[in-house]
Amino acid sequence: MSQNERVRPQPPRFAGQPLDTGGAEEFGAVRSRADRLLQAADDAIARALSNDSERFLQATRQSGGQ
């Protein structure tokens, strides 16, 4: 790939999967996907809650910003 090609615009930029905006998906499929969605974060949640939550909340105290 030449330098010229590297900086040229490269549309389209949408992700490969088609976007479902029609709302026609089966209820069961939506429910199933939602279940998998929630389960996917279980490890991260378990890791977080294996620590002291109150200490974490104090440690992440911020300054007021804009």
Partner: protein, 553 residues
Amino acid sequence: MISGLRSERDGDPRCVPKLMGADAELGNSIDGLHKNNGTGGEAALALLREVDGVCSIADGPVFDSKGGDVETGSSGADLYNAYPTDKANLENPQDVGRKYLSSNGGCVYIDLNHLEVCTPEVISACDFVAAWLAMLRIIRDALFAANAKCSPGQRVVVLVNSSDGLGNAYGSHLSFLVTRRLWDDLFTRRLYPALFQLAAYQVSSIVFSGQGKVGSENGRPDVAYQISQRADFFDQIVGSQTTYKRPIVNSRDESLCGSAHARNLSMGAGSGLARLHCIFYDSTLCHVSTFLKVGVMQIVLSMLEAGCLDISLMLEDPVAALVSYSHDPGLSAKERLVDGRNVTAVDLQRMFWECARSYVDSGGCEDLVPGAAFILDLWGDTLDKLAVCDFDALAPRIDWVLKQAQIQRALENRGLGWSAPEAKHLDHVYSSLDPDEGMYWPLERAGLTQTLVEEAWIERLKSTPPVDTRAWSRAMLLKKLPRECISGVDWDRIELTPVDPAKGRLILHLPDPLGHTYQDGLGAAECDEETRMTVESAGRCNETILNRGGNDQ
């Protein structure tokens, strides 16, 4: 002439493409380092040092990983006491150590102890999503590098959120290019209806733009979970301030389009332009939330410029309505419009959508908002799902819905309630930038969230500027010019070190945010002959910089 104008009247543009960008403060701290006032400053500095960029002012502190001016937080050094006091940019704690990135034209700096990330200017909502996520990845790389240098038992934590749950809010700001005419209407000439319409739009738009938050702050009524992180912190409908009594619509007047843009001046490129500085929104991670947050705003601002919004779309009390809507994740709260109707946030959004549909269908957004028809479709479909509270379908799209479902499940599994510290812990961890800590990232990795931009495009915008805005010229000039030749950088200029100091400052002007693009080439940068000669003599290997077309880069 300003690039991309739709039309002009009396020398002023009537509407302009809705170029935009973000400047977002991150929640940052050092876990394992204890200080009474928090460790935000130390964490921000440790991160800033790991980002490669060009200092925005001459003789500024280096703050890089090869040898910064102060020690990192792990040594316990106090951030501001450690700064040399004779450096001009350190006098403003809202703008410390600013660096512009030669990689993509964005910038980073420290604002009130928060690392602040600014995307390069973009025109399309899809590019915004990619640029925003690219900037987060740049900071994630800095996070890894900073943590590799941390003392044992310490680590830098970065949260992509907007409040700490302890009463401190920090902004995730957006900027939109608008006409000076609209800016004047909003803040000085026709507050009614333009300002009130914009406020009504923003307040109700939290249904797709909120990140979600456990609990309330700033003296607002108790609530288990609310839609917006920032809603509790707005006390006024309009104002120029950003750190206290925050306004829903911010009137900061700073166009960043060169000196000719300023009010009452009408000469040269940039005249008639203004920047709407929007301090209202939350930081978001879901592609769809982020896309709609900026894309719909582009459409609404275009309609405001055209005067096409329904006059009835104004809330009687926008500040109160914001809290009411945000504290109601069941989406049933109703607020009164000025015409007496009581509507939910989703009802109000649907009214804006109906106006937008007519406007877009009639070609109103043509050349102003890329992909307006797609934005409209996705906005409408999301409103359909919100109207029936179809949260299963919305979770892959909307941060506040996804976060609520995750925390709800975790609490139920453990027999905990929303007031448990674990709930707030998960609220924060949702947006942790650490891919092993953040609750959002495994969902994205598993393909369970709805993505709008390709992975390759996000990666591309880490290292390459957008080609259709002035960010391209900024980044390319920063790449090509030797750093010792650059004495200052800002959004609309690059200042060069003069060979002969007696000849004064040498400035490359980039006043037109829609110009100075890849297509224009670097020769479009505006400067006098002395500056041009200095740039050319500074070029590596006798390379001609300014006179070469963009296609030769």
